[in-house]
Structures are given as structure tokens and as C-alpha cells.
């Protein structure tokens, strides 16, 4: 390793740490779970309502569980099951990416509504 290597390492560190701290300090409180298939939103449900949902991914159905204001992918059909192994997410800058299924689970903030009467 030479000095240039170390300089580059520092540079990458700085850039990514700045980005990480920026992302984690500048995010809205999430309150809805948004599920996308490509750029189409296929599910938009409250984060604070414990429930399970099923959506269709590219390779088959995907089961999504919302519990205690956290969300995870319970079951999905893919070669490596990366997204069901990822576990729970709860912050608005986190997302679960089911790449083989072209599905993304995001936590968004729907600041327009406090609750829904049905």
C-alpha cells in the first residue's frame, strides 16, 4: 500500500461518512409502507397497522409483514433470498430491495394524513 492508496481510502471514507450522516439526520419520520414493482406503486399501507400483505413480484408472490412499525419481507421466490433475509426495516431511508422480483419495499412519509376513516 502506498500513500496514494491511503489518500484514496480517506477520501472514500469522508464521502461515504458525510453521505451516511446526511441521510440519517435528514429524513422524515416514515408512516406508510410503499411497495413498488419497478416504478409502479403496488401497495401503500400504514406502517402502524400490524398486518401481512401479499404482492406479486417478477418471480412470484411476495409476503410482506408489518408489525410494531417495522416491515419485512417474510417470503419471496428468488435464488438467494436476500430480501427475506434482510429482516426488519423501520426508517424512511431504509428499503428492502427484492431485485430478482423487481420489487422494492420503502418506508415513506405521507404527511398529508394523520389517519383514515373507513
Amino acid at each position: 500500500m502506498n500513500k496514494n492508496d491511503i489518500g484514496m481510502i480517506l477520501l472514500i471514507c469522508i464521502i461515504s461518512l458525510i453521505a451516511i450522516s446526511y441521510i440519517s439526520s435528514n429524513h422524515e419520520e416514515g408512516n406508510v409502507v410503499e411497495v413498488y414493482y419497478e416504478d409502479k406503486q403496488i401497495l401503500n399501507v400504514p406502517l402502524d397497522l400490524d398486518n401481512t400483505y401479499q404482492v406479486d413480484g417478477y418471480l412470484g408472490p411476495i409476503e410482506i409483514e408489518v408489525k410494531d412499525s417495522k416491515v419485512r419481507v417474510v417470503q419471496e421466490n428468488s435464488p438467494k433470498h436476500i430480501c427475506s433475509n434482510q429482516g426488519w426495516i423501520s426508517e424512511s431511508y431504509e428499503s428492502i430491495i427484492c431485485l430478482p422480483n423487481k420489487v422494492i419495499v420503502n418506508i415513506g412519509s405521507d404527511s398529508s394524513l394523520d389517519t383514515i376513516v373507513n
Binding site: 481510502i9 472514500i12 461518512l17 453521505a19 451516511i20 428468488s78 435464488p79 428499503s95 431485485l99 430478482p100
Partner: protein, 169 residues
């Protein structure tokens, strides 16, 4: 291409596939950042880049992605393009950086690692038409440093041993 070189490349390709396979069964840090891995197969790619040439390294890298696609995810599946994007950007940028002679093998390997993540994220954004995963990029970049160092270190080691063996042939 002489037979000896073809044999060597085939052998290296096999090694890289085996390393990929091994790694695909061990979920390293997927709790922190989804899909994060060391990229052991890149040891072979970095090694080839130094021992042979850019073309050979590119060949091994791309063929590995194809074979892994066949074995695991299916060729031309979403994940295949994802891997291909990472692999291509990684090898191309490594070749360019290597040419400048500014960085050591470890530095080059870090660049490869960083660009691997970058390429994957770019492809993912293109395929999913969603920018959500960009939030993981800083984490991926940060983790590229240790993984790049590990890959670079082993490549250097391998290079040394291989040269010794070569003499004894």
C-alpha cells in the same frame, strides 16, 4: 492463444466460480447492507489483470457472471444484469487506474470494489426505475474499503506465489 494460457485461464475461471459459489452460501453482512459480500471471486480477476492482461481479466470476469447466472439465478435474469453491471464497471475502472500507476495493487482492488458496488447500484436503478437503493450506496462504498483491501492483499499474495511456481515449472 497458446494452450498453456487457455488452461491457466480455464483453471482461474473455475476457481473464481467456486469462490463465488462458496460466498453465495455465506450471508456475511446482509443485516447491515442487503447483498453485501467480500467478492472473493474478484481475487482471481485482480490477479488476472496483473498476471495476464485487461482482456483476459475481462473474459474471466464476464464468463464467471455467465456461469454463476447459469448455476444460480438464470442467465438474463434481473440478478444477472445486476452482477454483470458491477463486474464490467469494476474491471474497466481497475484497468484504467492500473494504467496510471498511481495506486498499488491494493488501491486498484479498492477501486474495483467501489466500482463493483457502483455498477450494481446503477444497474439496479435502471432496472427498477427506482432510486431508493441510492441510500445504500454510502454504506456499500464504506464497506468496499475493507473488502477491497482483502481482495487486493490476497491477489498480491497469489501473484507472488504464482511467480515462484512459474520458475519451478
Amino acid at each position: 492463444m497458446e494452450l498453456r494460457k487457455i488452461t491457466k485461464l480455464a483453471m482461474l475461471l473455475a476457481v473464481s466460480v467456486v469462490l463465488s459459489l462458496i460466498e453465495s452460501f455465506i450471508p456475511f453482512f446482509s443485516g447491515v447492507v442487503p447483498g453485501l459480500k467480500i467478492g472473493l471471486a474478484n481475487i482471481v480477476v485482480v490477479f488476472s489483470l496483473y498476471y495476464f492482461s485487461f482482456k483476459d481479466a475481462l473474459l474471466i470476469s464476464v464468463l464467471r457472471v455467465f456461469i454463476m447466472g447459469l448455476l444460480m439465478t438464470g442467465v438474463f435474469s434481473v440478478t444477472f444484469y445486476f452482477s454483470l453491471g458491477g463486474a464490467l464497471l469494476s474491471i474497466i475502472s481497475m484497468a484504467i487506474i492500473k494504467k496510471t500507476h498511481l495506486l498499488s495493487i491494493i488501491g486498484v482492488s479498492i477501486v474495483g470494489s467501489v466500482c463493483h458496488s457502483l455498477g450494481q447500484v446503477i444497474v439496479a436503478i435502471l432496472i427498477l426505475r427506482q432510486t431508493a437503493m441510492i441510500y445504500y450506496l454510502p454504506w456499500l462504498l464504506l464497506f468496499s474499503i475493507p473488502t477491497g483491501i482483502v481482495v487486493g492483499f490476497f491477489s498480491q499474495l497469489l501473484l507472488k506465489y504464482y511467480k515462484n511456481i512459474e520458475i519451478s515449472f
